[in-house]
Point group: C2
């Protein structure tokens, strides 16, 4: 019914999920079903999931928890009706002993009765809010992936997990930066306000033109780089922990929920 090419900003979240479920949609979800929350997924055996939840609780800026499933459940009512967590994401990564696989189209074949799904908010929500306010989002304007950087900012160790924060960067003029801080502050469940702005070296970033993940974008002389906590952080944390078994979405290939972006706004 839903070929991937028929999907666009006006598609329903369910149409996007069904297209992924049927194997038609295998690409990134940016720009699809605009106005609905997209989430990062971290799927772990219950034995590790409880510790990882404590880690998320201690590090809410990179890991804002929106929903947690019951062990083994492939649905998640908190995120929407008719969800199959094992098939509704266009591409997954499977981790074994700290090594991430290439992307796979579904994980129904490796599903286990003890798997717990943790859904984390995503920056698409605040990027949409920035655009609605008239602020540009540089990497979108330049048709690139957001630039992301490892930092020297330590995470709070909890539940057996730890490491350093990964951040995404978006450049703005000073007046735009102040407005972007106001807007993203409304969305604590989508990484919230930036964690840093200005001099990148103060958080251990030596070359703003050489991101560790994603693509570089231009920063004008009268602009400041703003740095937000990034959803790549938990994936890096799983690798650093040498996790025995885990599943995540593949970066940029998110789960579409039925939650309007506006529902995550504090006010």
């Amino acid at each position: 019914m839903s070929s991937a090419s028929s999907l666009d900003a006006y598609s329903t979240p369910l149409a996007v999920r069904l297209s992924a479920r049927e194997g038609a949609l295998t690409g990134p979800t940016a720009g699809l079903a605009n106005g609905f929350v997209q989430v990062n997924l971290v799927i772990l055996p219950e034995a590790q999931a409880n510790g990882f939840l404590r880690f998320c609780q201690a590090n809410p800026k990179p890991c804002p928890v929106l929903a947690v499933s019951e062990p083994g459940a492939r649905g998640c009512e908190a995120l929407g009706d008719d969800i199959d967590i094992a098939r509704d994401v266009p591409a997954y990564r499977i981790y074994r002993n700290g090594q991430a696989s290439d992307s796979v189209a579904e994980v129904a074949d490796v599903w286990r009765d003890d798997l717990v799904t943790i859904a984390l908010g995503c920056s698409f929500t605040f990027e949409h809010a920035l655009q609605l306010d008239g602020l540009g989002v540089r990497h979108i304007e330049q048709g690139r992936n957001v630039p992301m950087f490892n930092t020297t900012l330590p995470l709070t160790t909890a539940g057996g997990f730890g490491g350093n924060l990964v951040v995404s960067m978006r450049p703005y003029s000073a007046a735009e930066a102040i407005r972007a801080i106001q807007i993203t502050t409304r969305y604590p469940q989508a990484h919230g306000a930036p964690v840093h702005l200005g001099d990148p070296t103060l958080i251990g970033i030596t070359d703003i033109d050489s991101p560790d993940y994603g693509d570089s974008v231009s920063v004008a002389d009268d602009e400041l780089p703003l740095f937000w906590a990034c959803g790549v952080t938990p994936q890096q944390v799983l690798i650093d922990a040498g996790i025995a078994f885990a599943i995540t979405h593949s970066p940029g290939h998110m789960l579409l929920t039925d939650i309007p972006d506006s529902h995550l706004s504090l006010l």
Copy 2:
């Protein structure tokens, strides 16, 4: 009853007003009756006041209107009980043909039946909120007046008034700056969020160590200067307009109101 020396952070707003009314309090009001809104006053003949109100409406960041009195009235119920606008400020300035007088202790002798009082919010409200959140305020820590600068940022001309914005500066680290933006955003009636941060030359400030008003404060290498719209702006605007007759408070010598600071918080 209230000698000026007995006034402190725990005094009531009325005690501060009565001390000024009796001529005992003639100094600045910073640190008195903490937790209550202090206001800038602009007092104009009705013929000019209407235009000035339009100017304030068009420039809410430097000129956030809290209350406007009826012509000739020396009380203002919106600000508190038992207020005498002509005597309850520790020091006033009288403007004639664009020239500001030295400070005078009261203006009852020059009061007119057509004078309209416009009360404008003041940065003391947000400085108190910053301190309650644990953020330092550099000029307070250093026992100085806040540094203020003329800028090249144009005001919106309205009602026969115009000019350029005057800003106050407070330095913060990046993480503190983000928090300071969040906190001051709550107080649009006390100048609200900063208008600029970072490179001062982008708004026409050539030497951060040489303020046009107030005192200079230190800015550390890992700090950014943040710039807020300043209540000195309307006083400069009156002078630039060559106003025939007007009264304001003397800078730093504010009217204490009965309004708790918290009442100005958006949420």
